[in-house]
Every structure is written in structure tokens, then in C-alpha cells.
């Protein structure tokens, strides 16, 4: 019943709108906040992952016998040690915790070594022998979408398609005074949070507890429980203070591997990524190719946009389908556009996985739609602020998906205030 929040704006005097200090601030300035890598439990083991160095291959066999002979090595786990389901993923369960059939990217986890010391780990990893048969790799969405391309996952390489159709964009283009078409490309980006992925797991009384650097402890719990084949009530995930995430710590990193290692070995286990490991194997921002056509009338009023977005999600879906869907919903920008045709493709390749990163596909499309707005303004000799104010959402406007915006529609205010601020600072002056 209690589904709706409150808009009681007069409430909360004194504390709402105040610059209260961070509740975790004192521990952080004193260095007493215990991040996952700062934690230790007596008898704790350390773990490290053996990862694929090839992007696409059939995995035939892993032989860890010589690694097990390295002094200090306690165990080497491979896919067959996983008691539950060996697939994780927030939207699509398509990523193995440890590869069981096919390698799909450089960095896929093949085996997990658990040992008493870093030295033992360092000696054990190269001692593991892996037999695989390399397959040709697919390194661009264009290649992946071409007819006859081998399927990286069973159902083909196009993971998802989002289509938004409103009015009749093609006819509107014919009526327009100005039509501008451009292709925009954006790069793959790393989150680069300062704290590399880290976690610690321990089993007590049939319950596994995992302290991890994470953005979503309850999702972690679900995945660890599935992978171990136990109830969620027997998994406790505690989010350790987390040194930044920006979307890059939404997916599973160390959680399932640590759960497995602690569950199997019966001892506490800690794993900390090196910077290089973090940068090579964490999900990235989707590189996108955006074909964008905008059309407006002689006053600069938008008549239509046609947009095609192709995002390279790499080897696993991660947050890719959500990113491309969101990119599609936001592709026409904060503007009223009567005729819209938008398509967004999320495509598998053998590149590193792209997932969530601050903005979820919208920074990519914003680069495109805002460049287009300036091109339209330039064609008509309009000021960039004027064309934006002329088109931006107002209360009552409908978005590309046909959603009516009723209240709290501040885009016009932000344009006015940004302009006023820029004038006040002298950024904008007599120039325009």
C-alpha cells in the first residue's frame, strides 16, 4: 500500500538541504575505514585467477597437477568444482564463473588458485597447463553482425534490439528545411576507480560471508547462492567501504570465486586485483557508432530524428542490453520531436565486456544529439541557446516514447541558468 513517496516539501527543516558532513567521513580521513583489501582473518588464504590470453577458443583441458605441487598451494579449482550453476549475469546469465566450454575474451577466468602466500600463487599460475583450440575472433560489431559470422553465444551475435517509433520520420524529413546526417563514434572507456576489486570470504556454521567492494550486495548474494547451489539465507554479502565504482562494480568480480574457494577449502580466502587485472578484466563503457539524422523547420524546430546506435558489448551481455535501451530512449535528447525512428543494437564480439558506466549510453548519444543541435543552429544562423530553448521539454511535453512529462521538468531552467551563469562569469559576453 505504501507505494508512493512524499512530496512534503516543508518537512525536514534544518536537516534537508543542509551540508551535513559525510557520516563515514571521520573513518575515511583517519585511514581507519577498512576496505576489503585491508581485512584479514587468521588462517586466511590468498587467491588468484588464471585467465585466458586468447580471445576466442574451445577449452579442451586444464591440468593443474604441477601447480598443486608448488609448496603453499592449497587447491586449484576449475569449472567442474562449481556445485551450482556456472553462469552469472545481471540481465542474461551468459558468463561462466570459470570457463567450462568456450573462451570468449582475453581474460576469461579458467582456474582459481588458492594458496598460503603470494609467492606460492605466483609460482603456481604458470605451472597450470591449458589445452585449447583457437577460433577466429570477432572484434567489431560490423563483423559480428555480418551474415555468416560465427555466433559467439548460441543465439547469435545481436544480443538485443531496441526500437522506438513515433510518427513518421521519413515523411517528416522530406518536409524539413534543414536535414543533417552524421556518423559519430565513441571510444571504450575504463572506470578507473582508485580501489581495485577486492574481497574476503569465510564460512562459519554453514553460512558463507563475503566482504566485497561492490555496488550491489544483494545481487552478489543471489549469484553466489546460485553458483554454490545453496539458499540465499546461507550467503551473507557485506559491502566493504567501496573505493569508487561508477558502474564498474555492478557485475560480479571476486564474489563468486571467493565464495567457491571458501566453501570448498573451509578456510577464509582473500583476493585483491592488481591495477592491471582491474583494468583488463572489469567491464567498460560501450564504444558506439551512432548514425544520426536530424531535421528541423526554418525556425529551428525539430521535426524528426532518425538514429541508429550500435554498441559493442564484448564477450558477455553484462548491462549491455540496458545500456543500449537507455541510449535509445535518450537518443533524441531533452527535446520535443514529433517524429522519431530510433534503433539500438547491443552486439556481442570477442572484445572485453562493456557494461554499466556512469551514464549508461547517454553520454554517447548526448555527444551526437548536441553536436546535431549545433549543426542545425549553424545552418540557420541561430544561437545555440535559442535553438535549445525553442525545442526543450516543457511540462506537458511528450518524450520519444510517448511519455507525458507533467512536473519537475527543469531543462529550460537549466539552459537559462547556465547561460546566465556563463554571462555573469564573462564566459559569454558581447560575443553573441
Amino acid at each position: 500500500m505504501n507505494r508512493r513517496g512524499s512530496g512534503c516539501l516543508k518537512d525536514g527543516p534544518g536537516v534537508i538541504g543542509r551540508n551535513c558532513r559525510r557520516v563515514d567521513g571521520i573513518a575515511k580521513v583517519k585511514g581507519s575505514a577498512f576496505f576489503a583489501a585491508d581485512r584479514k582473518i587468521d588462517g586466511m588464504l590468498l587467491a588468484r585467477v588464471l585467465r585466458s590470453r586468447v580471445p576466442h577458443a574451445v577449452l579442451n583441458k586444464i591440468d593443474a597437477r604441477s601447480a598443486l605441487e608448488v609448496p603453499g598451494v592449497v587447491a586449484v579449482y576449475t569449472a567442474s568444482d562449481i556445485p551450482g550453476e556456472n553462469r552469472v549475469g545481471i540481465i542474461v546469465k551468459d558468463e561462466p564463473v570459470l570457463v567450462d566450454d568456450r573462451i570468449r575474451r582475453v581474460g576469461d577466468a579458467l582456474a582459481l588458485v588458492v594458496a598460503e602466500s603470494e609467492e606460492a600463487l605466483a609460482a603456481a599460475l604458470p605451472a597450470i597447463k591449458v589445452w585449447y583450440e583457437e577460433l577466429p575472433g570477432i572484434f567489431s560489431p560490423a563483423q559480428a553482425m555480418a551474415g555468416g559470422a560465427p555466433a559467439i553465444h548460441g543465439q547469435g551475435n545481436i544480443q538485443s534490439v531496441t526500437r522506438i517509433v513515433k510518427g513518421d520520420a521519413d515523411s517528416a524529413l522530406k518536409e524539413a528545411r534543414v536535414v543533417i546526417s552524421r556518423r559519430y563514434t565513441t571510444q571504450m572507456v575504463e572506470h578507473a576507480y582508485l580501489e581495485p576489486e577486492a574481497g574476503l570470504a569465510a564460512v562459519e556454521d554453514g553460512q558463507v560471508t563475503i566482504w566485497a567492494s561492490t555496488q550491489n550486495p544483494h545481487y552478489d548474494r543471489r549469484e553466489v547462492a546460485r553458483v554454490l547451489g545453496i539458499g540465499q539465507n546461507r550467503v551473507r554479502v557485506v559491502q566493504a567501504p567501496t573505493g569508487g565504482g561508477f558502474g564498474g562494480k555492478l557485475d560480479i568480480s571476486v564474489q563468486c570465486l571467493l565464495g567457491l574457494a571458501a566453501w570448498k577449502s573451509g578456510r577464509p580466502v582473500r583476493m585483491v586485483y592488481s591495477r592491471e587485472e582491474s583494468m583488463e578484466f572489469s567491464p567498460k563503457r560501450h564504444p558506439c557508432v551512432i548514425d544520426y539524422t536530424s531535421a528541423c523547420d526554418g525556425d529551428g524546430r525539430l521535426l524528426a530524428v532518425k538514429v541508429k546506435i550500435v554498441g559493442d558489448t564484448g564477450a558477455y551481455a553484462s548491462y549491455g542490453p540496458a545500456t543500449l535501451k537507455r541510449a535509445a530512449v535518450h537518443a533524441s535528447g531533452p527535446y520535443q520531436v514529433p517524429n522519431v525512428f530510433i534503433e539500438a543494437y547491443c552486439v556481442y564480439t570477442n572484445n572485453p565486456t562493456a557494461g554499466a558506466m556512469r551514464g549508461f549510453g547517454v553520454p554517447q548519444v548526448a555527444f551526437a544529439h548536441e553536436s546535431q543541435m549545433d549543426l542545425l543552429a549553424g545552418a540557420l544562423g541561430l544561437d545555440p541557446f535559442t535553438i535549445r530553448l525553442r525545442n526543450c521539454f516543457q511540462p506537458g511535453s511528450a518524450t520519444a516514447t510517448g511519455q507525458r512529462l507533467i512536473q519537475s521538468v527543469g531543462i529550460g531552467q537549466t539552459i537559462e541558468q547556465a547561460r546566465a551563469g556563463a554571462v555573469q562569469l564573462g564566459v559569454l559576453g558581447g560575443k553573441r
Binding site: 575515511k28 580521513v29 585511514g31 572506470h191 592488481s274
Partner: protein, 162 residues
């Protein structure tokens, strides 16, 4: 390799322990001494999360081998605050909102301390330069720079009062 006796002063206290000579100062601080306020962000001298003061100079503890720090006076974040309180730089970081995830914070505070120990009225450029070896991915540095400016004011205010 045979351990050697690592003797130094850390946060005003003498330490004396056997240490493998190719161990990094960072590992001695974090693992052997349990002072985990000093963070590792890269292990390659690029991020400054591991910044400590060695005889008052900021260094990346991940690049210093234990023998190089022997006999030195070492300050880590745990040694910055007076008993039961906060150092004015720590106060300033809280007041200015210069802390978000906090992973860069210990290193930033020590880099700031090294600057302010020498110069209580630094220019913004001097502040930016002093923390230029310290990465922060959260704050955009603006509030960190503000905090150092604020700390300078607090510290010189205190200086006047004495």
C-alpha cells in the same frame, strides 16, 4: 633472501622487525605493521594512494624498498591526527566535502601535509602541483584543492593564536 632488521620511527614510535629486503615499504606498513590506512591503487607509482612521508617528504610507498626506508622517520595517515581528535587538514577535508569514496584520501592528506608543513599560504597552482601525483576519480579535485586552502587558513590561524 635473508631478512634484515628493519628499524625506523613510524608515527613517532620506534619499530624494529625482521623484514625481507626486497619487500616494499608499502607491504611493511600494511601487512607487517597492520597500518592499512595507506592504500595500494596501482603498485607502480602512478596513483599516490600509497603516499607516506619519509623524513617529511611525500613518497610512494609502493616504490620504496624496505631497506631504503630504514632509519627514517615515517608518517602514515594513522600518525596525522592527535590523540582523540583530528588534524586541521583532516577537519578541512570533511568541512570542504573533499572526501567521497575515500580511497585517495589518506594519500591526499599526506601530500597536503607535506606542502603545508613548508608553506602555509600556498597558491592554487602550488596546491594542484603538490597533489599532482595523487589521482582522485571521484571529486574532480575541486573540493580537495578547497580543503587544502581551508587547512592552510586553519593552520595559519592557529599559528597566529600561539
Amino acid at each position: 633472501m635473508k631478512p634484515f632488521r628493519f628499524t625506523a620511527t613510524i608515527n613517532g614510535r620506534p619499530v624494529d622487525l625482521p623484514v625481507n629486503p626486497h619487500r616494499r615499504l608499502l607491504d611493511v606498513i600494511r601487512d607487517d605493521l597492520g597500518l592499512t590506512g595507506t592504500k595500494e591503487g596501482c603498485g607502480e607509482g602512478e596513483c599516490g594512494a600509497c603516499t607516506v612521508l619519509l623524513n617529511g617528504r611525500p613518497v610512494n610507498a609502493c616504490l620504496v624498498l624496505a631497506p631504503e626506508a630504514a632509519g627514517c622517520e615515517i608518517t602514515t595517515i594513522e600518525g596525522v591526527a592527535p590523540e582523540g581528535g583530528l588534524h586541521p587538514i583532516q577537519e578541512a577535508f570533511l568541512e570542504a566535502g573533499a572526501v567521497q569514496c575515500g580511497y585517495c584520501t589518506p594519500g591526499m592528506i599526506l601530500a597536503a601535509k607535506a606542502l603545508l608543513d613548508k608553506d602555509l599560504s600556498p597558491t592554487d597552482q602550488a596546491i594542484k602541483t603538490a597533489v599532482s601525483g595523487n589521482l582522485c576519480r571521484c571529486t574532480g579535485y575541486i573540493k580537495i584543492i578547497e580543503a587544502v586552502r581551508l587547512a592552510a587558513a586553519k593552520l595559519s590561524g592557529e599559528g597566529d593564536a600561539v
